[in-house]
Symmetry: C2
Subunit: 321 residues, 2 copies
């Protein structure tokens, strides 16, 4: 069987992760990278195509993985891409997913293409585990925790403080909140459920003031348990320049005198790599759905799980069931 | 919308769990219990129907949950039930699942019915997580751990030793093996991956001999890390008469210099309750697939996840994605 030909749209962190991960998939090849930058050098030496000419390359690939930002790029551009080719995106504006899916569905049906929207891990794998957990334990309590993980927004906020040479902030689920969730107890949510751990490089003289500014920063830090650690620059460079993330979806419920607890955990050393891995697996599903005569937009909830695996169904049933 | 009418076939531990759990589902009702025993009293007062007359009750329910043993009942009887009605089973003879699915598929297609086979947690939820984990991290290491959980076979074995008044054996994943799996390291498998913990009620004079007989029992205990705890009868009755189980599916892989770790954990205070909860959720899917004009047999890998949820798709997308 011919490989699935993947095009990447956008060459930031996510696009580079997808480029790297295609080489780990037994049934995929990289067809090309769409970019606004004409002079781009790709890591793998893949062809670079002008994104404005997307439509004219439609026969050169099977699925386009849209490695674009959710703020404006995906909602503005994805409906144009899906007119010409199957797409997978990682659109993560949770509240806007129903609108995005409906729009992509309409255009995909008109053009006989398939879109899988809002893949990745949250939305994506976490969505799947929320839906399945609640279906199994309809009377249960369910909670999603994020982290330990690098928070881009909070790291930016601490770096804006005068005197901070380098800084990062990790969001960490509170151990007490995790335990309560595993027992099916409601209660610890929001600010009680997570703590905020900062690592800062700053001159000795500025440290007390910086710590105070962090702890009193409204919205970002006030009300949270906050930890501020000052470290030297070498330690920072060695230990705090990665993009770790992860989290937990915990569903626990009483089935009549007995607590049943379901937990899905991700521990990711590099966030965009895992997001890219999920997007690629759903690119496979998009291709198969289209080959099977389907068109329209799908969330991960609507895709039968075997469709994301490179292993044929008969083998999966023998191996995994 | 009318409730989904569930029939239970077989009234052992699993059948009783399903009976209890139907009351937690917002869109289901118990139509009746099929049994060989004419004089059965059900917990809920549900109608009891003779299992030999299964076919004549086919219009009185939508899906039959087959709460029967996997050793002989399911392979022998399920193909007869699926001739007349949609079924869900928890057939757990892993090696025989492909044959069972093929047989159920053939009969279901001939009769316009839908079977979901081998639901529960392993096979079932663990199968789903093995397939998805390997699809996301095709170069990763994957391991399944069972427990902490009551092992029926090992408990029976210790109870056969002379002088054992009461006894149970729990299988427990080794912490070192769990850690290695989370890091994506291969290695600790089989006897190294689990330890066996026994709780025994016995007279003082017999204890040394009993412990020795346990530790030297071939196949069951030799080669494992074994813990033997002697306790009094009151403690045994208070703490060791439940049916706890659970386990872990861990997939970890390197995405090019970075380890990504996916873990699915179950901690179940009562094994048949959770198995029953999964079977019921897939009974919903069986009903919907049939209503949608499908026929044939499905494993959990082939069912789009939203089909198991009582919540309409549009709401799920808004709530969970």
């Amino acid at each position: 069987m011919a490989n699935i030909r993947i095009a990447i749209v956008g060459y930031g962190n996510l696009g580079k992760s997808v480029e790297k991960l295609i080489g780990q998939q037994p049934d995929m090849e990289l067809a090309g990278v769409f970019s606004r930058r004409a002079s781009l050098d790709t890591e793998t030496g893949a062809a670079v195509w002008p994104v404005d000419e997307f439509a004219s390359f439609r026969d050169d690939f099977d699925v386009a993985v849209l490695c674009l930002g959710s703020a404006t790029d995906i909602p503005e551009q994805a409906p144009e891409f899906i007119r010409h080719a199957n797409t997978v995106d990682t659109y993560d504006n949770h509240r806007d997913v129903p609108r995005h899916r409906a729009e992509m569905d309409r255009v995909a049906r008109e053009n006989g293409t398939v879109a899988v929207v809002s893949t990745g891990w949250d939305p994506g794998m976490f969505s799947l585990n929320r839906t399945i957990g609640q279906a199994l334990l309809p009377n249960g309590q369910q909670q999603t925790f994020w982290g330990p993980g690098l928070s881009q927004g909070h790291s930016d906020a601490v770096r804006r403080i005068a005197g901070v040479h380098k800084g990062v902030q990790y969001t960490i689920p509170s151990p007490e909140a995790l335990d309560a969730a595993r027992k099916g107890e409601a209660g610890l949510t929001g600010k009680q459920a997570h703590l905020r751990r900062c690592f800062i490089v700053a001159d000795e003289a500025d440290r007390a003031r910086i710590e105070d500014e962090i702890r009193t920063m409204p919205d970002y830090f006030v009300g949270y348990e906050v930890e501020v650690n000052f470290i030297d620059e070498a330690t920072f460079d060695a230990e705090h320049t990665g993009m770790p993330h992860g989290g937990h979806v915990i569903t626990a419920g009483d089935t009549g005198g007995f607590v049943q607890s379901i937990e899905y955990n991700l521990e990711l050393e590099r966030n965009p790599d895992f997001t890219g891995a999920v997007a690629l697996a759903y690119a496979r599903a998009a291709h198969r759905l289209r080959e099977g005569g389907q068109s329209g937009a799908y969330t991960v909830l609507e895709v039968a799980p075997y469709l994301i695996s490179p292993t044929p169904l008969e083998e999966l049933i023998a191996r995994d069931v």
